[in-house]
Structure formats: structure tokens, C-alpha cells
Symmetry: C2
Subunit: 427 residues, 2 copies
Amino acid sequence: MADRDLTVQLLLTGNEIMSGDTVDSNSALIARRLGELAIGVYRKVTVGDDVKLLGMELAAMAQDSDLLIINGGLGPTIDDLTAEVLARVTGVGIKEHPQARAHLEDWCSRRRLPLNAANLKQAMLPAGATVIDNPVGSAVGFEMMVGSCRVICTPGVPSELAAMLDGIVADLARRMDRPAQRSILRLQTFGLGESTAQQMISDGIDDWPGEVELGFRAGAPQMEIKLSVDSDAALPARQRCRGQLEQLFGDHIIGEGDSTLAGRVLELLRERGATLTTAESCTGGLIASMLTRIPGSSEAFHAGFVTYANNIKHAVLGVDEQVLASEGAVSEAVVRQMALGAMARSGADYAIAVSGIAGPDGGTQDKPVGTVWLAWGSATALKSCRLRWPVERTLFQTMVAAAGLDMIRRTLLGLDSEPRYFSQRRA
Amino acid sequence: MADRDLTVQLLLTGNEIMSGDTVDSNSALIARRLGELAIGVYRKVTVGDDVKLLGMELAAMAQDSDLLIINGGLGPTIDDLTAEVLARVTGVGIKEHPQARAHLEDWCSRRRLPLNAANLKQAMLPAGATVIDNPVGSAVGFEMMVGSCRVICTPGVPSELAAMLDGIVADLARRMDRPAQRSILRLQTFGLGESTAQQMISDGIDDWPGEVELGFRAGAPQMEIKLSVDSDAALPARQRCRGQLEQLFGDHIIGEGDSTLAGRVLELLRERGATLTTAESCTGGLIASMLTRIPGSSEAFHAGFVTYANNIKHAVLGVDEQVLASEGAVSEAVVRQMALGAMARSGADYAIAVSGIAGPDGGTQDKPVGTVWLAWGSATALKSCRLRWPVERTLFQTMVAAAGLDMIRRTLLGLDSEPRYFSQRRA
């Protein structure tokens, strides 16, 4: 599938990566973006911030490659060595690059920061290098030829790399004199594990076409299913595959591309001119935060309540004190009253309420750590369910928050069937 | 600083890593575990599941190393090639290993699975290899010498690798005949950039001792400063460095190790028997979520309010409607009333309130995107400030939430001086 004519290698540098203090996600991002052009990465080497070793690798890799992408080592500190090493390997001097300096001056002045010596180091580039704009951070990228190999130097800060890659990929597509050929369709799902999904596909689809590459990317809380094709001729086959997957997984598919549960819920609310409120105990504001991360969320989300303590559930949401005492905070009666109280106080049309035991302490025999009661819906059609995720605290909070959003998504879509994960998670 | 006598390299294999579908966290785990023995990783190479390339790398790396750890390629499928490649490179045959077969039989029978051909492939190892037990999964690890290099093959499934590393590290420590030596002191800071910190250290400390390795790890919202030494003899020197850093950075240091702003705030509240509430507009529940991610947070955090819409600021927190109309939601008067309202309704001793413009839309000339009003303190000693972070929405939310927590930390510590970032961020 990959372009066999172009040998691409990655060289990563950083003591923090070598020591294991930082997990490198940059090389995966670079590979995925190159994958859009059907360019595969042949080999990847990672070394610490060591001038000699970095120089040796750079020279050796440039000799074997058509394109070498270097990541890291562009920062302001003394262990940021990429420009220096590239200048040495190519035998050119290092000098202040006017475009890089202008970028730094602009970057600092917009942030009202002084342009200090550490920052100015970032304008010192190998002579003859071409600057690549950094729309986010202070360190510009740059590229130059080493023999017949194009070397592109990119920053190690993930958000800066991500922003810079748009331009790099577009430029590569132009130079290769062809549009991006690989077309990737990504479907976002919630409530399916990777191995379950894989098994369901093996069992359910026996004529999967060879030209449609299937991939999975498991995350928490969502899992992505990827359908890649390398030519327009394969698009009808992919369309058939997509139909088959929709049959198999049904309403566990949230949407395409970068769809998220929170984004989908906000979309559905907006279409209906409706609003949602949250009453959170064990998720402690995470559901509200997932919603408000999304631009424009204020249209459908006006109010959220984090009622962590029992007296607050009573004082703020009006949960009956006697019910709290007799049933406990993690109970159907309480979570339903939380939802109703939140709707009454905020005037919202829909609510998600959760109360559970995130752990590591606080579990009992009847209600072990990982138990949660959820309520969701409108004041006149409120549903509730007890589920259990016996996992570590923050993963528990993530999965419970996502399940709450998923149930509102299902409610707004008018879906009555229970999601698959209920059968595994029902406590 | 690491053990110069032992050259260690890592070879990772897997198409899913090369394509970017999987982010490799295994090499970071291996590096961290070796770091406990003061063993540094010199170089890391990653390639796809390709017999020829894998064989070339293995042979070349073994020639340059004392220890080569291979990760991945031990599974049951045809693209799991490690045993085959190692057998080829060493010129020994591949044969069924009785101990590996016994492990597989046991593993399958405990799971009531049939021992199929795919599984049995995992018992085929290079002749003469020593099996390393896998306490979790079906694929055993193994090791053998390639020339004078010890080669250890480990599984790519992270939980299996983690379980196997305990034994591998203990065995290495025994062979090296010494306990772990490297000691790392980590200081967590907020409100300092990496380049600022580096510059302050260069300007302020001119006798930094060579035996204390200085490192930075920039994150959002915190930055970590790392002081590593390789022997007990260097501990006094590190203690002096620490003292100098405390002089330089003062109250921008939050704490040691894994300290977080939210964790530190909860600790300080607990020590004082006090409680905190939150009234969030632009951060939308993120401050509450940062607090409740931490086990035991319920002791000092009972209630949080997400008041995204103006009418909710009035209805839920009692913010004056006329003030909302005349000053706007992003104003000193409103954010102070939000804080007071949240304390009145929750009975909490302290509050953080924030109201700002997270973007990408909603800015005006007077109040551009990135502007935020914060209020913090107690009902009788409430402070407020207008700041500006002109950054992307989720980073804005993260930095504002952290600043709110930092101001409460400073209040609880009785610190009156303004943090450094106020001078840059004051809007």
C-alpha cells in the first residue's frame, strides 16, 4: 500500500524520550499523516541529545533515504541540538535566520515576553535552510538537502508538530505531483472493545474485499474503526463495507471523522433546540468539562452541578435527606432525584446524573468500587441503570462520563434498544 | 551519567507502530525500569514486521551492544517474526521448546481454550534459547547470546511486558552485582516556561556541579525540573542545587515527585480542615474535575457549580441581573459575585470563580478571546484579577483552571506576592 519509490525515515531526539519520562506520540502522528499520502515510514531511530550520536545517525540515515524527518531538539535550551548537528553534517555554518528571528519577535511580543538569549537561539539555523512556519510555538521548523535526501526538522512539542504537519503534508502532496491518494474513512464507536469488534467482523462478514484495509484504534472512551483505500476505484467497495459495519455495530457508531460523544450530543440538542444539564457526583465535573471543551457548547449547555457531598445533593439539588440516609448516595432513588433537581434548577430539557464509587476506597460488599447509578432523560421520561466498571479511578470516571453522554445520545436519537455494554457492565 | 560500561539498545518491531495506529509506550517503560539500575538506553530503532530489515537491524545492533532488548513479534500470527529472525541471525535452527509448550498448554487449559496451531507457533524458539516466564500472557519471552551481546526478547502486549520486566530487572541487578544507584529528584512548578527557567538558572547559578544532571519536562499546566545523581556521594551537591532552585523559583515550586496543583490544594485544605467550592464559566467544570480526579478529594471539595449561561449565574449563584447586563459576564463584579454565591450556597470556606472567553468566537475589542476574570479566596478576603491567555480553547481552559488552583494554593500558604506569570498575563 505504501509508496515503494520513496524511502522515508524518522529520527527522533530527546533525553526525555530515551529515559522513558515521555512517551513519544509524535512519530505515530507523523506516520499517520504520511499514511494519508500512501507514504510508509521504513525505519525510525531514537537517540538522546548527544551531538556525536545524533550527527552519525543523521548522516547515515540521510544516505539511505529520500526523505528524513527529524523530530525534537528545536527548543531554546542547550540540549536542543538539531540545528547545530545539521549544520555540522552538511558543513555549512550556523547563522541567524531573519525569518526565524521575525517569527520569534512577533511570538514574544504577542505574549508580552522579553526576547531573551535562550529564545534567540531558536533563530540560529544552518545557512541555506528554508524556514517552515510554526503557527503555534516559538520554534520554527526548517528543511534542507543533505546529499540527495530532503531533511525536514520539526518541533518536539506535540501541538506545534501537529500544526506544522498540515503544511508539510500539503507540500509533499504537491511535490509528488499527485493528490493524496489514500482515502481514510474513520468511524467512531463507543461501547465496543477491539477484540470484540474484530471477532464480530470475522464472524459476520466473509467477503471482505482485499482493497479495503481495516484498522482499529482503541482509546478511552471511544474506539475508532478505519477503512483505508488507495484509489478511487475502491470507493464503492468501501461503501459496501461501511454498510456492513453499520449493520453489525448499529447505534454503537457515533459518527465519522473526529466525532465525539459530547460533540454528537451537542449537535443533536442544537437540532432540537433543547438544553442539557448535569448532576455529577463520582465524575466530579468531567461530563460538564467534556461538553464545554467543544466550541459553541454554551448554546445547549447552560448549567452543571457537581454535588460531591450528601448535604450538597440535598441543599443544591433538593435530594430528600431521608432517602439519602436510607438508600445511600449511590442509589437509584438518589440519582433520579439529582437529575430531576438539576432540571428544575436550570430549566434544562434533559439531564445526566451519576453517583458511584470511583475508588480506590469507599466500596462495600453490596456496592463494590466501580459501581455507579446513572439517570438520564427528561423530567417526564427519566431512565436509570446500575452499572459497574471495576477499573482504576480516572478510567472509571472517563467511562462513566462517556456512558452518561451515550445514553443521552441514544435518548435524543429515539433509540430504545440497550447498548451491548449494558449486558457486560450491569451490576 | 548512566552506566558507561554497558551499552544497551532497544529494537522494536510492529507494523502497527510504524503506521502510527499504535503509540509505543513499551520502550518508555523499559527505559524507566532500566533507569532504576542507572542503566541508560543508548539508542532505539523501530521497524515494521519485515524479515530482512529486522534481521539486518538485529545483527548490526547486537554487534554494537552489550545488551539488546527486542520488543514485539512474539505473538501467534504470521507477522510475528522475532524467533525466526533471531534463529537466522545466529544460524541455529528453530525448534519446539518444552518449557514454552508446557506454558502454552497450561495457559490454554486454564482458559478452556483449545491449543491450536497459531498458539503452538509460540513454542517454536531458536535452539539454545533460555525461556523467560510470562506471568500474564501466552507468549513466553526468551534470551540468548548473539556474539558477545545478550539479546532479550519481550512481548509487545504492554501488560505482559510490564509483568515480565520485574524478573528481567531483578536478574540484571543480580548480574551487575549492585543495587539501583541513580536517584532522581523531581520538582513540580507552575507559571514558569522552560526557556524562562533555563535562562534564570544560567543567569543566577554559575557553579552548577557536574555530577547533578539538570532536566526539564514541560507540560501543560505544570513544568517538572529533574535533578539526577548517580551516587550517594553526589547527594549533598544536589541538596545545594535544590536550595538554589528554591531561592530562584520560590513559590512557583508546587512540590516534589508527582505533586499536582489540585493535590497540593486538597492537602492544604485538609490540614486546615477547610473546604473549597468552584464557580466556573469558561472552564466549564474542568477545575472541579481536576480536583475530583484525586482520591480522597471528597473531604475538602463538596460542591462545584458550572454556570455557563447568564441566567444560570443569576438563578443558581445569585449574581445580580443588572450587574450582568451592565458589566457583562466577563467582569470583576460578576466573577466576585459568582465566588460569593458559590460559598453561600455550599457553605465552603474558599472559592475559585472564573469567567472568560475561551474562543474561538465571542471576543470583542475590549475583551478579546483569551481574556478571563478570576476571583479567589474566602468571603471576607476575596481577591480578583483579569488575565489573558491568547491560546487555543482547551489549552486556555487548562491554564485558567490551573491558575485558579494556584491562587488558592497561594492564599492557603499565606503568600502575598504576585506570581511571575501575572506580569506577563495581566490583560
